[in-house]
Amino acid sequence: MVSIYLSKEAWIRLNELPPPDGAQSQRERDFCTAVVILDQQPLTEGRLDDVEKRLQGLIAADDGDEIAWAAQYLQGRIWQIYRAVPDVTKAAGSYRRLIARADAGHWAGLARTKLAVLTLYVIPAESRQARIEAAAALIEGTDDGITVRDLHRLLAGAIMFFNLPPGQALEHLLAADQFGGLTGNQGADQLVQIAELAWDAEQPELSARYYERLREEYPRDARTFLHDQRRAGAAVPLRREDLNGR
């Protein structure tokens, strides 16, 4: 029910269940209760305290199971995006603990990308480049394809945001493209980004190759028009020089 946003109904059903019949059952019930409360409105600081207490109990009694890891992840999310005054230091600590667990699987992968976001934009750093390097270090140590791809995408976005040389962003997006798997607007946007970064990096053949992929994989995306205009030698709107455009 929670998975399809019927949290009120889930709350009613949860309260109608018979008492748990063992420690493991109690543990599952506590986890479910924490997740369902997290989805109730109004979500007051008092309710968040309640959820946190339950999660901390689950983390403390670490059985090395999915519930413990998920609880650790949710703990980080509460500090990061739920509290009226976020505590990113605590959130980052929670993610780091999860990443340090070799067996935390999916939850560690998620924690890795969330920590990368905080590293790139929130945790203080000496310079823009230092942010990129610290986040890039998170690629090491995971072999989950989607996590690696998303880390490359995050890095490329931050490089463009901080106006660092576009060649770096291009490398990360090409690495993300190696894994693939993006669909819809995200997939089409990434092909256009690679094509445009390649154009800025004076690699017109690479740019053309990605625009042709856009035409083939997303025939309903009209952004191939710019590429066609360039090929025809027509004038096209330009990016600002300081964004390393031509």
Partner: protein, 558 residues
């Protein structure tokens, strides 16, 4: 006994005796009782009801397309469906768009809603409705539509028979990872001309093919008005057709060059939030030549409408066109059939020739042509979770969106098809979206949010009134715009936080389900897509929070 109880019998008797004393009142009472009895009889004996002799299964469909065309077309689709399925009766319920949202919620909560329901997430504040009241149809749309047997779409998954593959937010609801609806049509924006007026004004009934020709038409129109003493306008004016459609479109297209100029993320144009951040970084302002030109063109466009058009409703513009008081009306193709039926002349439909480079003054920054995309489909119909006849309702949805069913709809409504292989009638070919061109990703007027939109609305008169000018508009607009933009950004960020919070519990639940129930690869892949997307959304959120306190200091960061 309370005083009220003591009084009641007396008051009641008094009323009856009063009725009895007046034959007119007695007659009224009989008519009232008769009407009640008739209504009760009709309700109890209508097809599908307890006392009905009609044993057919009854399904009902509700929508708000009360323009001329769709109702009659859906009637024709129903007639053919009932011919093919004599054991089923389909009823159509139409409710005006202005009431539909409230009506639907009441019906859904009361358990009286129809089996098939038109619905649109663009209403806002209705995100709870699909998961609560509608059934997902993902499994069904992955299978072929049996009504397409014998056509070129035989064996093709139902989803892929639509022109956009149902890749529209109303059919596929991203955060629910499911298809929920099928669509009926496509819409575009077009200029509908009065050729008789064109002939009288220019000597030719041919509409202009470039903005330069629109300008020539403006000069000829002024001359015509002077000669004849008439006050014919160039464009039908109203708040909707004038401000929402025309001026917004002109500023959007003319601002395209600026959007490309600020394309930091290499996506071919900036999205609204990225454009806001570039503004806060001090990378653009309204003195940019592209925007000054856009404002001049907006002023020129407004001069082609009758004074005070901003105060008029959409129907006033339609009447102006019908009375031959204007050369053209720019509106959506949803109005096409109404205009065709009501106009006392044979109208001409064309894509409006928006300003492009080479069209004269103020067009140096106008990068055209503009793409209208490949035609997203719309008018989405959902399956009510509480329907007593889900299989029958789904079957009708299949027919309605089959080559035959959608063909009937197109033929009778005059609207565009949503289904591939359905032939577009000759007269409707002009409604088809124009694909090749630049994609505008940002409306400078309406794209940032309510606060900036409000500043535009309040100050626009300084630009478009006869005594207005770009400078007097900007003088009043500039000081208000930045603050409004920041408020819009803050609202946007609050919404992102809410959305991230709203998705966390469902995504956690899905992750646990995927661990416990091995095997639903589609669900797992959809969840991982959503998790990835959430991470990128989160990064964009922090970009905004990074820029907000720094502003132009962003440009000198170590």
């Amino acid at each position: 006994m309370t005083s009220a109880e003591r009084v009641r019998p007396f008051r009641c008797e008094g009323r009856i005796s009063m009725v009895a004393r007046s034959p007119r009142n007695l007659f009224a009472l009989i008519v009232l009782l008769g009407a009640y009895a008739t209504a009760a009889f009709l309700v109890a004996t209508r097809p599908g009801a307890t006392l009905s002799a009609d044993e057919r299964t009854v399904i009902r469909l509700a929508h708000w397309q009360i323009e001329a065309g769709p109702r009659e077309a859906i009637d024709a689709v129903i007639a053919r469906y009932e011919e093919l399925n004599p054991a089923v009766r389909v009823e159509q319920v139409t409710v005006p768009g202005s009431l539909f949202k409230q009506w639907l919620r009441t019906q859904l909560i009361g358990g009286n809603a129809t089996d098939i329901i038109e619905f649109g997430s663009f209403w806002g504040g209705v995100n709870d409705i699909p998961p609560r009241f509608f059934d997902p149809i993902t499994r069904e749309v992955e299978a072929p539509n049996h009504y397409n047997r014998g056509t070129s779409l035989e064996g093709v998954p139902w989803r892929d028979t639509f022109r956009d593959g149902l890749n529209t937010p109303d059919a596929y609801i991203e955060n629910l990872s499911n298809y929920f609806a099928v669509t009926l049509t496509m819409t575009t924006m077009r200029a509908f001309y009065n050729p008789e007026l064109l002939l009288a004004i220019t000597g030719s009934a041919k509409p202009p093919t470039s903005y330069r020709e629109v300008r020539e038409l403006t000069i000829k129109l002024a001359d015509y008005n002077q000669r004849t003493g008439q006050k014919v306008t160039l464009y039908a004016g109203s708040q909707f057709t004038g401000e929402t459609l025309m001026i917004d479109r002109i500023t959007t297209y003319s601002g395209l060059g600026l959007s490309m100029y600020n394309d930091r993320f290499r996506e071919q144009g900036t999205k609204p939030r990225d454009s806001t951040l570039e503004y806060l970084r001090g990378r653009w302002n309204f003195d940019h030549p592209a925007l000054r030109d856009a404002l001049e063109l907006a002023r020129e466009g407004a001069a082609g409408m009758r004074p005070g058009f901003q105060q008029l409703g959409r129907e006033a513009a339609v009447q102006e066109f019908m009375r031959s008081q204007t050369v053209m009306i720019i509106t959506g193709t949803w109005d096409a059939t109404s205009l065709r039926k009501l106009a006392p002349f044979e109208l001409t439909v064309e894509e409006f020739p928006w300003p492009k480079q080479g069209d004269g003054k103020f067009t140096d920054e106008s990068w055209g042509p503009y793409s209208e995309g490949a035609g997203g489909t719309t008018a989405a119909f959902y399956l009510n979770k509480a329907s007593q006849h889900k299989e029958v309702a789904l079957d009708f949805m299949r027919f309605m969106t089959s080559v035959e069913g959608n063909g009937i709809f197109v033929e009778k409504s005059g609207w565009l098809p949503s289904v591939r292989e359905v032939e577009v009638p000759d007269y409707a070919k002009a409604y088809m979206p124009h694909f090749a061109g630049y994609s505008a990703r940002l409306s400078i007027m309406r794209g940032y949010g309510n606060e900036t939109r409000d500043v535009w609305s309040r100050q626009l008169h300084r630009l478009i009134s006869p005594n207005g000018s770009v400078d007097s508009f900007l003088e009043a607009f500039r000081p208000e715009f930045r603050e409004a933009l920041v408020r819009d950004l803050q609202t946007d960020l609050r919404n992102v936080y809410l959305s991230l919070r709203r998705d966390l519990a469902p995504l956690t639940a899905l992750a646990m389900l995927d661990l416990l129930e091995d095997g639903d690869a589609h669900r797992e892949s959809s969840r991982r897509d959503r998790e990835s997307s959430q991470t990128i959304i989160e990064a964009k959120l922090y970009e905004a929070e990074f820029v907000l306190p720094l502003g132009p200091a962003m440009n000198t960061l170590p």
